[in-house]
């Protein structure tokens, strides 16, 4: 401090004032509430209404949840335990837990679907996460055959000869490299088809009699519960993406027949409700096929669900293709890449990245649509829940079962949704 102003001003403050507390209305919870909850008349009214709603549901639901009964063998026993109070009877889930998970699958064989689902996690890891070891991709390729064998059982040779078809097709593809792509493809498909249609059956029989390596077969009708949802959902998801890509490309093709087939397929399937396709699968096919034919119902359902999802997937991917600037196609041409190389290296990586939200959207929709199979008499979780409610012990239970089923579906769908967001962030290469 100097004396400079000593004559001109009578008093000069020599120390800084300590900082004052901000006014109480501008700080902490009060400020946050003023800004976010009571910011104007409309906001205040909405806040009060929301609070009232939350309190109401809390008041109604909390006693119900707090009084949950977990140990009872029937609804009437639940009611006895509750003794007039309202309360959730979660015992219905506890008692029927295995039924809701596996349906009628033989209890002593539960290890097979469990093992199949554990292996599923291993098989999808290299596809979903780049940090997983690449060698696992080989396992991902053979996994579908292992899963089919584990779930349905029977001799191992059935799936082995089915897999052999692919190997033979691939061998044909390699052997004819010099003949051009068209002949290669036709030959590969022809070899595989001939194998499957005429040779696979007898070869499997011979192998089975020579070396009977079999596990107990489980017919499709014993599948049920969440197991069937996951089986149909995973198969549909795994098949609809590649098929959807093919149909999306087919629709953009310059070859008229391929284009027409793709357009017809997509527009026909998209124009028909899924439930119609399921009824076709379960009812009409029975009339078309020769009497006595035993065409596996779950297989029919998987095919129909896949076709349905494929049509949607094709349009989602077409959207991604349409969003690519024309320059990308021209750049691929300028580099001298042929059609498939251009698609694989330049077009598809970008188009698929753009389509991720739409693709996952279709996946989630497909997974939830699997509950529609209840209308053709397959006891999926919803169907199994109805069957549980049809027993004398549990007739009258309603919310607990549906809340449980909804929660399980939510976990699956939320997981898919979070993964897709993670994937979008990981693949983000632009600088917008």
């Amino acid at each position: 401090m100097s004396d400079t102003h000593a004559q001109t001003v009578p008093y000069v403050r020599e120390t800084m004032l300590p900082q004052q507390e901000p006014p109480s209305s501008q700080v902490g919870a009060v400020k946050w509430m003023r800004e976010n909850l009571f910011n104007g008349a409309i906001s205040t009214v909405l806040t009060l209404l929301s609070l009232a709603a939350i309190l109401f549901f809390g008041y109604e639901l909390l006693p119900w949840l707090a009084n949950s009964v977990w140990n009872a063998s029937s609804l009437s026993e639940c009611r006895q335990i509750l003794d007039g109070a309202t309360g959730a009877c979660w015992a219905v889930i506890r008692v029927n837990w295995l039924q809701l998970m596996f349906g009628f699958y033989p209890p002593e064989l539960y290890w097979r679907p469990i093992l199949a689902f554990v292996m599923l996690a291993v098989a999808v890891a290299p596809v979903l996460f780049p940090s997983a070891p690449r060698q696992l991709l080989g396992f991902s390729v053979v996994y579908p055959f292992i899963a089919v064998w584990l779930l349905w059982g029977g001799p191992i040779w059935g799936v082995t000869v089915a897999a052999m078809g692919f190997v033979l097709g691939y061998v044909a593809l390699r052997a004819l490299t010099s003949r051009g792509l068209l002949i290669q493809t036709i030959a590969a498909v022809a070899v595989a088809l001939i194998w499957w249609l005429f040779l696979a059956g007898p070869v499997a029989d011979v192998l089975s009699s020579a070396l009977p390596l079999a596990i107990e077969p489980v017919p499709s009708r014993e599948f049920g519960g969440f197991m069937i949802s996951v089986v149909i959902g995973v198969a549909g998801i795994a098949l609809s993406l590649p098929l959807g890509i093919l149909f999306a490309l087919g629709r953009q093709s310059t070859m008229p027949i391929i284009k027409w087939i793709s357009v017809t397929f997509i527009e026909f399937i998209r124009g028909v409700p899924l439930i119609t396709l399921l009824f076709t699968a379960s009812l009409l096919l029975n009339y078309f096929l020769p009497p006595g034919t035993n065409f596996d119902l779950i297989l029919r359902v998987i095919i129909m669900v896949t076709l349905f999802a494929t049509a949607y997937m094709a349009e989602v991917i077409r959207g991604g293709l349409a969003a690519l600037p024309r320059g990308q196609y021209e750049a691929a041409d300028a580099l001298g890449l042929d059609y498939w190389k251009a698609q694989r290296l330049i077009i598809m990586p970008q188009a698929l990245k753009i389509s991720i939200p739409g693709i996952v959207n279709t996946f989630i929709g497909l997974f939830k649509d699997t509950t529609l199979v209840v209308f053709i008499g397959i006891l999926d979780p919803i169907g199994r829940a109805s069957a549980i409610r049809a027993t004398s012990d549990w007739q009258g239970v309603y919310w607990e079962l549906f809340i449980f089923i909804g929660a399980v579906f939510w976990v699956f769908c939320f997981g898919m949704s979070r993964y897709s967001m993670h994937l979008e962030r990981r693949l983000k290469t632009d600088h917008r």
Partner: protein, 338 residues
């Protein structure tokens, strides 16, 4: 793409393996199990228990037929069918017999090409109301709101009944029995109408069953019975006479507890014929002599099955009513075993 081809192969393999055109009996015997269509769940009639084993009144018919044909009541593949899929499943051969509380009607028997082999439960449509309404007869229901399952015969019966009695009603359409319970308990409708057996089963599940009354009027005939495809008379005979054997066993006093003793021989020739001690009734329908004995051993006679699944000792608590033997004032009357 690749996997779909693979699945297609499986399908083709299944197709090729599936060709067979023997009689239903030969098919069932070759397969070693009976494919029986049941409902996806109707309390007391067919529903899987907590261990996944099917139980119920309709299920017992399947087990009896399996026991008669194969000697093993557990050799049954139960195929759950919905109201929409049941007839196709039977017509296409996916199931051998349908025991799914199905009403025997003219058009189903003739036009749809099925053969009803008998009636295992005489049902009829009834009404349930809250006791507080103070209604004691269906004729007092003028102007009521009625919960009714859409697309069923009950819907048509209801319209007929109210028109005949010159009353009006307001329908509340619902899809399933479970939904109906919720709607009715929530007060969305004054009256719930469906088959009387269903009403009893539904009321049994309420928290306070005594607050609800089932009105005495039964407004329709609903004879429920198992059915088979038309055109295989031998198979229809087997199913028909298996059901008759259960009914006859009750009439003749053959129960699961005295079955062994009766089979050793009695002084009643009809019992002896039924249980295979005299005559060769089994051979006439292509089965062994003990076919009826196996069928009765599966779950007891008709009365025992009724008591164990839907009778008065069960939570459903149905009285025999029309389903008593003709000697007891009911409608059960089997042709003689001769």
């Amino acid at each position: 793409m690749k996997k779909s081809v693979f699945l297609g192969t499986l399908a083709t393999a299944a197709l090729v393996a599936g060709y067979a055109s023997a009689t239903t009996l030969e098919d069932v015997q070759a397969r070693g199990s009976l494919n029986c269509g049941v409902s996806t769940g109707v309390n007391g009639f067919s529903a899987p228990d907590a261990n996944g084993v099917w139980q119920g009144f309709d299920v017992a018919v399947c087990r009896a037929v399996a026991a008669a044909v194969l000697g093993d009541p557990m050799a049954v593949n139960f195929v759950p069918t919905t109201g929409q899929t049941r007839f196709t499943a039977l017509a296409s051969g996916e199931i051998d017999i349908l025991a799914r509380n199905t009403t025997w009607t003219f058009s189903r028997d003739t036009d749809l090409g099925f053969t009803f082999v008998g009636v295992n439960y005489y049902d009829g449509q009834g009404f349930m109301v809250n006791r507080e309404l103070g209604v004691s007869s269906a004729t007092e229901l003028d102007g009521a709101t009625v919960c009714i399952q859409t697309g069923t015969t009950t819907e048509l019966n209801l319209a007929d009944y109210f028109r005949i009695n010159n009353m009006s009603y307001e329908p509340v359409p619902i899809e399933t029995n479970a939904e109906a319970q919720q709607q009715y308990l929530a007060g969305a409708c004054d009256v719930y109408t469906t088959d009387a057996s269903g009403l009893a089963a539904t009321r049994a599940s309420f928290e306070a069953p005594g607050d609800h009354v089932i009105l005495p009027e039964i407004i329709s005939k609903e004879p429920l019975g198992p059915l088979v495809r038309q055109g295989d008379d031998q198979w229809a005979d087997i199913a028909r006479w298996t059901l008759n054997a259960l009914i006859a066993a009750e009439e003749l006093g053959v129960t699961s507890s005295n079955l062994e003793q009766m089979a050793a021989g009695t002084n009643n020739p009809e019992i002896n014929r039924l249980l295979g001690g005299e005559g060769d009734l089994g051979a006439m329908i292509g089965l062994d002599a003990q076919w009826a004995m196996h069928a009765i051993a599966a779950g007891g006679n008709y009365g025992e099955i009724f008591a164990a699944t839907i009778g008065e000792a069960t939570p459903i608590g149905l009285a025999r009513g029309l389903n008593a033997q003709w000697t007891q004032g009911g409608l059960l009357y089997t042709p003689p075993f001769r």
